[in-house]
Amino acid sequence: MKINMPVTDKEVLMKDGTILVTRTNLKGIITYANDAFVEISGFSYNDLVGHNHNMVRHPDMPSIAFQDLWETSQAGKPWTAPVKNRTKAGDYYWVEANVTPVYKNGSVVEYLSVRYAPTREQVNAADKLYRELNNTRPTTIRPTGLAKLTKNIKEMSINKKALIAAILFLIPNVCSMIGSYQTQDMMHLGVVAGLTLVAIIFGYSIIADLLKALANSSDIFKNIADEKFQNNIDIDRKDQVGEFYRNLYSMQVKLNADLAYSKQVGAESLRIKQALDNVNSSVMVSNNNLEIIYMNNTVQAMFSNAEADIRTQLPHFDSSKLLGANIDQFHKDPSMQRKMLATLSSTHNAELNLGGRTLAFVANPVLDNDGDRIGIVVEWLDRTAEVKIQKEIAGLVNAVKAGDLSNRLELADKSGFFESLSEGINELTDGIDQAFAEINNAMQNLAMGNLSSKITADYDGVYGECKNNINATVDKLAEIVGQVRESADFINNASREIASGNNNLSERVETQASSLEETASSMEELTSTVKNNSENAQEAKKVSTNARRLAEKGGDIVTSAVDAMAEINESSNKISAIIGVIDEIAFQTNLLALNASVEAARAGEQGRGFSVVATEVRNLAQRSAAAAQESKTLIQTSIQKVRAGTEFVNETGTALTEIVTGVKQLGDIISEIAGASIEQSQGIEQVNQAVSQMDEITQQNAALAEEASAASVSMSDQSETMTSLLGFFQTVEASAGVKRAALAPKAPSAPARAKAPSQPAPIEGARIVASSDDSDDEWGEF
């Protein structure tokens, strides 16, 4: 007996509601296993199918149990018992196994095993029983001895049981009848015999009827098991048998309908499978164990096509054995892939590189109606050719990017889109190659100095623009070279003229130097004059200071005079007041004299002498008054004079102040003149220095003029060299020699120069020498 090792103590529990189904042929080889079985067993579908069923057997199961199973099955009977099975990993799981033979046209063709999840009681009882059996090791588990007899009696045919019952029933009746016959109790005999007969007839008919119904039902069940559902069933009977028939009938109809539905579903699935088989995409379906349970034709073809390549990396790869195998075989290290696929719940895109093949795949979960994942559908795409072309094109593009335009794509191994794409890329490369070759050629010519070479081929777009630009560049360069050539000739002429000009300049600078020396001596004379001026100005300043001091003194005297005048004025006023008093006295005296005259007149003759005295007194008074009046007038005149004198003196003071200011200003001006003279002498000294510097500079200028002369000679040489260098460029005009001849229309030997354009220098030089007098005139104007 096969013993599968190793085992573990880990139990795997069946999920409630799942059914494990297998089919085996008459020799016990598995021909079919459903997904649930494959999943719990731990084996792959391919591991299971084509192998003996005993591979899932657990070593704890007593062999006698399988012997019993085998004997029962061989006898064409169904068998059921709790069974302990082993998974691939050594774990165990309990099932309630139901094995039934499948009949086809009356004979057994295969066995169908259906397993349910057992209850815990069943498991415990079975476990206990199997341990005992393993310990005792009996030859059979069937009952023996009395147990077998009891069982045989219990399982005896109904016919035999009925017969025994009838015999047992008849014995007392017959004995009773024999007794009645002996006593000649015919009445009793007849009643008993009649009743017995009736009982036997009834009993027989009941048993016969039941047996017939049983046999009929059995046939119907066999037909149903054989998928024949059109059985005649009497459903009109009213007794228990009729009830039985009606239930049977209901079952038949229900099973028929279910089977029809299952067939329809099967047909639909088949249709889809057929469709999938023939679609262009490579489709593969795996169960939750990642075992491939379906592959369509395309994927089959794809893998057989790629087999040789894949084998270089995975030596055990066999495209014909993919179905039922695990997806893991596509990976050297499948754990990550497995982990990812185990939790796959949405679309997963990836790419595999196997032995040089590039296989892209899209994995999607397949869900049942409850949303549980029941498998994975994988679409494959062999991108090897595409990737190869991609690489080829990338290589070409990189080469073009690196400037290697010699490569082209191979067209022979390509077809369709890739061929036309490759052709296009080759044409593109050809175009770039040709354009660059022409540009290169033109540029090479340009480098050689050939300015007449141009791109002639026709181009569009950027190439056209590039061509036009290069041609324009060449033209422009030719034009510029022509102009430069002209300029060089002119420079040549000009440098000669500059040389002769520089000589003249040098002479002039010498003249300038002698003039400067004269200027320097004149400046020295000027310096002494200015110094004299300065000294005189200092003297004048002293004099003016004295004048100022004197004028200030005069001012003081005037102030004293003004004071004296004021005192005179005061005295005059006092005199005037005194004269006023005198005048007053004279007036009063006059009045008194008048009164005396009045009194004298009144006295008449007696008063005559008195009158004379009064008259005399009055005369005196009047003379006093007149004298006072005169004095007053004199004094007033004096006061007026003094006032006028004061005014004069004040004016004199003002004039003196002005004189002081004027003298001060004069002093300032003289000081400024003195300062200016000093600055002047300093300035003249600076001028002196400047003149001596000018002298130096003039000397340097003379040297420079000589250098410039030498430089202009060498410049002339350089320009000749330049002209000869420009001969390197071959323009259309240069080769024709027309332009050069037109350059020097004044030259007497123009035709000769046109013939020998490479030797213009001596002729140019000759021209310069000849025209040196003219240039001298020009310098003279300068």
């Binding site: 007036f587 006059n590 009045l591 009045v598 009144r602 008259t615 009055r618």
Partner: protein
């Protein structure tokens, strides 16, 4: 006194005190002159004509003072240190009275021959010239001799003022 004057007239000689008023010379009989004084402020008398300047206490006698410039409707002149008051004795029908006149200056005592006194100018009856005694012509100027009694008659004052106004 009138008799004396007549005697003097017949004697052919009289003394006249001349004084200055607004540049013109006037004369009064010296015998009518009581006193000559310098100008001093007088006590004004209310409700009198303008030309009555006021009253002066002359040794216990109250003497009214008349400004002749105002009396003769002349231009008013400031009083100066030489302005004098001439106190005159006026003989009227009611008796004699003493009155002062204000003069710009007193000039001289003139001895006049009566025959040399010219008549006062005849200006008709309408114009009152009775206060003029006559005109005396000297070598230098013409002196108007005043009739003091007529001029300073208090009865005439109102009349003059009426005539004047």
């Amino acid at each position: 006194m009138s008799n004396g004057a007549n005697v003097n007239e017949s004697n052919m000689k009289a003394q006249y005190l001349t004084f200055d008023l607004a540049g013109e010379m006037y004369g009064v009989e010296i015998l009518r002159v009581q006193e000559i004084r310098g100008w001093e402020t007088v006590r004004e008398i209310p409700n009198t004509p303008d030309y009555i300047k006021g009253a002066l206490n002359l040794r216990g006698e109250i003497v009214p003072i008349i400004d002749l410039r105002v009396r003769f409707m002349m231009e008013n002149v400031e009083y100066t240190p030489v302005t004098v008051v001439i106190v005159l004795c006026v003989e009227t029908e009611q008796g004699s009275a003493i009155m002062g006149i204000v003069a710009d200056a007193v000039s001289d005592v003139l001895d006049v021959n009566l025959k040399d006194i010219k008549d006062k100018p005849n200006l008709g009856v309408k114009i009152d010239t009775q206060f003029i005694r006559g005109m005396y012509v000297t070598k230098d100027n013409m002196i108007m001799l005043l009739n003091v009694d007529k001029l300073l008659n208090p009865e005439q004052f109102e009349g003059i003022s009426e005539v004047m106004s």
